[in-house]
């Protein structure tokens, strides 16, 4: 184990706009996620959750403070290097899915791999595996417009977890899913973390946040509290109960 975090936000501020209309979306926020760790972020609307993920994914830049992915400070990268790092290391599930309408489910999922130089046959095979993991193996050749919201959301999740990404960022990835499918997605994220991926998950759903190793409560752009690395389940129910 190295001491490098998969993701570090260190004393980050993000102010949107300027002057009278300036909005202080994040205030001195520090959050670190280790490889293999699943961290959930909860907080009311407007508390800065999406801003936090956008900064972590290099889609937006901090006004002050540092954002590091695998020890690389994003603020020091030029646009091209940043784009490469994002494509290579970061899987991002957007709140509104962001699928490419003219591509099928499998093509959407395979695209980041192909952009990274994987040939189209193996890229498609891996895309099909990822779709299988989210229960969409039968819809691989369907266009987004012919899928339900929940199905599109799962395609977006498959696209984020395909390939060897070290960091998965997910903004409300279970919002359009029923409870059973939501649970399947949480199991998938946990499985990726067990393989060493770091994941940061924004959710309103306490039942899904509870799958995380740690839950951070965000308020007015700052981390109010977190649940720490929780103690073992032994404290709750004895093994003999099983």
């Amino acid at each position: 184990m190295t001491t490098t975090r998969a993701l570090s936000l260190l004393g980050v501020d993000r102010i949107h706009g300027a002057g009278n209309s300036a909005v202080h979306a994040l205030r001195g926020l520090t959050i670190e996620v280790a490889a293999g760790e699943l961290v959930a972020v909860m907080g009311p609307s407007g508390s800065g959750k999406s801003t936090l993920l956008n900064l972590a994914g290099g889609l937006d830049r901090a006004t002050a403070g540092q954002v590091l992915v695998d020890g690389v400070e994003l603020g020091e990268l030029d646009a091209k290097a940043l784009a490469r790092l994002r494509r290579h290391k970061v899987g991002y599930v957007f709140q509104d899915f962001n699928l490419i309408p003219s591509l099928t489910a499998a093509e959407n999922v395979a695209l980041p791999l192909e952009l990274d130089g994987v040939r189209s046959r193996p890229a498609r095979q891996r895309a099909l595996l990822a779709l299988d993991e989210v229960g969409l193996e039968d819809l691989a050749d369907r266009l987004p417009q012919d899928m339900s919201g929940g199905q599109q959301q799962r395609v977006a999740i498959a696209r984020a977890v395909v390939g060897e990404r070290s960091l998965i960022l997910a903004d409300e990835p279970t919002g359009a899913l029923d409870s059973e499918t939501g649970e399947q997605v949480m199991r998938l994220l946990r499985a990726r973390c067990a393989q060493g991926v770091a994941a940061l998950l924004v959710t309103h759903d306490a039942g899904h946040a509870a799958w995380a190793d740690r839950v951070v409560f965000l308020r007015d752009g700052a981390a109010l509290d977190d649940t720490g690395s929780a103690s073992g389940p032994e404290s709750l129910l004895p093994e003999t109960a099983r």
Partner: protein, 201 residues
Amino acid sequence: MSIPHGLLALLDQRPMYGYQLRAEFERATGATWPLNIGQVYTTLTRLERDGQVVGQATDEEGRQRYEITAVGRETLRTWFTDPVTLGDRPRDELAIKLALAALSPGLDVQAVVQNQRVATMQRLQELTRLKRDAPTPSAEDLAWTLVLDNLRYMAEAELRWLDHCEGALARVRPPTAPPTSDPDPDAASDLATDPTQESLR
């Protein structure tokens, strides 16, 4: 939890010894309501006195199995078919604590809510960890899995209720921190461009 009804339900499957009843009870409830053997025998004695169970002849080791009677079966049937009413449950300490906290001048009620939120979330995480280690319950584990699910849903409901309390409190007793003025909370996601799409250009 009604211990007499729990024991009757187990004895309705087959006659059992006291120590068996204790083990089966814990298994069915995931040990969320641990019983000691003394409670089991006290309850059996009372049930026998009321004609709900009868003790069988003692075996060579002096142990005695109990079996359910027709009267006991009738009691059990009524218990299963009658819904549990709110009045049957103990009052919830947390609800009372927060209600009183809201009345207490100078108390940081937001902090009371937040401390509870962290504790309840930790409990929900622990319960979820148990669930995640047992993905598909076998028939014999079903009973305790259902108890576990019940505890998870209760914890989720408590967290939702805490959010509600916080909102209600903030309207009546504004916190010291400035509230966010935010008509369009998800505006930030519009900023985000898909890295995949961007790379296509």
